[in-house]
């Protein structure tokens, strides 16, 4: 479904990604693990069209998307829950969700999607009219995920969904990620510092170090790998 080939990204003189290649099959949950600054977020930002790659290609369902503007990539069915959630704090919960469906002109379809998000996160329905800036961190994360789902993506990228969230809520968020994948049939690319959790719910994983893919395998195999265990699983 998504083929990233030899992707390189530079920030000025600094090269953040060195020929990163990923291959993600439809219906999977795939995770990208690595320490701070390894290039995980950069990879997602490049796929979303927020950064122009210095080299390499990104193909989605066979089509090259690495030259498209970010808003056009959303239109193709790739959506991202960005790091730090980035909810529109000045808009109400409902308006945030409506903005998620910005490209959808069919009101009935937007309404149906809204109900689907509310049934996934009932808390959001309770806070529908509330200004998003007043939500707790966990609720903002739900809103960010709900907003990304409103565009009816086929491919969803999530950047650190557990960051800064109460431990109790982290489990809930991860259950919802699995549910989104299973029952909505959405392919998920998950970036996560909490490698334990990420390898638990994913089928495949890539390990990034200083902008390079150093390992990729089935998640179960990565869990057993000595290097992964000592560096990322604290074992």
């Amino acid at each position: 479904m998504l083929e990233v080939e030899r992707l390189s990204v530079r920030y000025g003189a600094v090269q953040a990604l060195h020929e990163v290649s990923l291959s993600i099959e439809e219906g999977a949950i795939v995770t990208l693990i690595g320490s701070n600054g390894a290039g995980k977020s950069t990879t997602l930002r490049a796929i979303s069209g927020l950064l122009r790659p210095a080299g390499g290609t990104i193909r989605y369902c066979g089509e090259r998307i690495d030259r498209l503007p970010a808003h056009a990539i959303v239109g193709r069915g790739l959506s991202q829950v960005p790091e730090g959630r980035m909810v529109f704090a000045n808009l109400s919960v409902r308006e945030n969700l409506q903005m998620g469906a910005y490209l959808q002109r069919d009101r009935a379809l937007v309404q149906r999607e809204l109900e689907r998000v509310f049934s996934l996160f009932p808390r959001l329905q309770e806070r529908e009219q509330q200004v998003a800036g007043t939500l707790s961190g966990g609720e903002q994360q739900m809103l960010a995920i709900g907003r990304a789902l409103m565009s009816r993506p086929k491919f969803l990228m999530m950047d650190e969904p557990s960051l800064g969230i109460a431990p109790l809520l982290v489990a809930t968020i991860f259950e919802k990620i699995v549910e989104i994948n299973r029952s909505h049939g959405i392919t998920v690319l998950l970036v996560e510092q909490n490698a334990n959790l990420a390898l638990d719910i994913s089928s495949h994983g890539y390990v990034l170090e200083t902008g390079r893919v150093i390992l990729h395998d089935r998640s179960a195999a990565l869990r057993a790998d000595e290097r992964v265990r000592s560096a990322y699983l604290g074992a």
Binding site: G84, A89, N90, L91, Y102, G133
Partner: protein
């Protein structure tokens, strides 16, 4: 007392014009985080557009006057979009200082272009609306003022509706909060920015026509002072805050008029800048602005 009420009416009329111009400054600041100093010249262009349209459209009736108004607003909306496309869009992603300096350059360019095309001499602005005077217990209200109040009220309510209730208005608010998140939900930021310039410029054109109807002499440099004062009004209300810009305009118009009425007419133009200094010293976020705090 009558004198005070009369000055209050005059001050409100002036304030309404400042408010219309200030909205453009504050909306553009909201989406691009810089002050579009060329906005004063869009105000001037609005007055000139009205001047020339009045030769094509029979004026002197309310309908004719409104048609001229609408035409000038449309012309300036296009001018605003053009300015953004040619001058500011190529600089996207550069520092806002670059955009700010460019804005001053565009402002000077349009002033000189105006002098080249229209000549530097003042022209007398035609009477667009039927002229009547109404006496309300000693206070004199002109039909021009009544129309000014009505048009401003309609435009402000319309703007409120667009910004708060429509898809593109919500996108404007989303973009002003976080442009990256906006593009991640599929908003075409460039298009929303164009729309913002169109909206702000149309309001400035309305301000230009209404201003010229009250002070019926126009010239290519007429935008400078009202433009600067409207900028002060936007800062007074809290830059980036839409209701704030409207409030700031009205407050500034009232203060300026009352200072003049109290015998300080020499200081007419100094008032706005004294207000600017005070607001920057004591309440830099403006009357309605507040520092955005975001939960992380």
């Amino acid at each position: 007392m009558t004198e005070f009420l009369q000055q209050l009416v005059n001050g409100l009329a002036l304030g309404a014009v400042y408010a219309l111009i200030a909205l453009g400054y504050t909306m553009v600041y909201g989406v691009l985080r810089f002050i579009n100093f060329a906005h004063s010249e869009v105000f001037m262009a609005g007055a000139f557009a009205g001047y020339f349209l009045a030769r094509l459209i029979p004026t002197g009736s309310v309908v004719g006057g409104l048609l001229v108004l609408a035409g000038a607003m449309l012309i300036c909306a296009l001018l605003g979009v053009l300015i953004e496309k040619l001058a500011y869009r190529p600089l996207r992603g550069r520092s806002t200082l670059t955009a700010l300096i460019t804005a001053i350059g565009v402002s000077l360019l349009l002033q000189n272009l105006g002098q080249r095309i229209f000549g530097p001499n003042p022209r007398s602005f035609p009477v667009l609306f039927p002229l009547h005077y109404f006496h309300l217990g000693g206070v004199v209200l002109s039909s021009a003022q009544l129309i000014l109040f009505a048009v401003t009220a309609v435009l402000l309510l319309g703007l409120r509706h667009v910004v708060m209730k429509t898809r593109i208005g919500t996108a404007m608010r989303a973009l002003s909060f976080n442009p990256v998140a906006a593009s991640l939900v599929g908003i075409n930021n460039d298009r929303v920015i164009s729309f913002t310039f169109a909206l702000g410029s149309a309001l400035a054109a309305a301000g230009g026509i209404l201003y010229a109807s009250s002070y019926p002499s126009i010239d290519p440099l007429m935008g400078t002072l009202p433009g600067l004062k409207a900028f002060v009004a936007a800062v007074l209300g809290g830059i980036g805050n839409i209701p704030g810009a409207a409030l700031g305009g009205v407050v500034l118009g009232l203060v300026e008029t009352l200072v003049v009425a109290l015998g300080g007419s020499t200081y007419r133009d100094a008032v706005a800048f004294a207000v600017l200094i005070l607001i920057l010293l004591f309440r830099p976020n403006g009357l309605l602005g507040r520092l955005q705090t975001e939960k992380v």
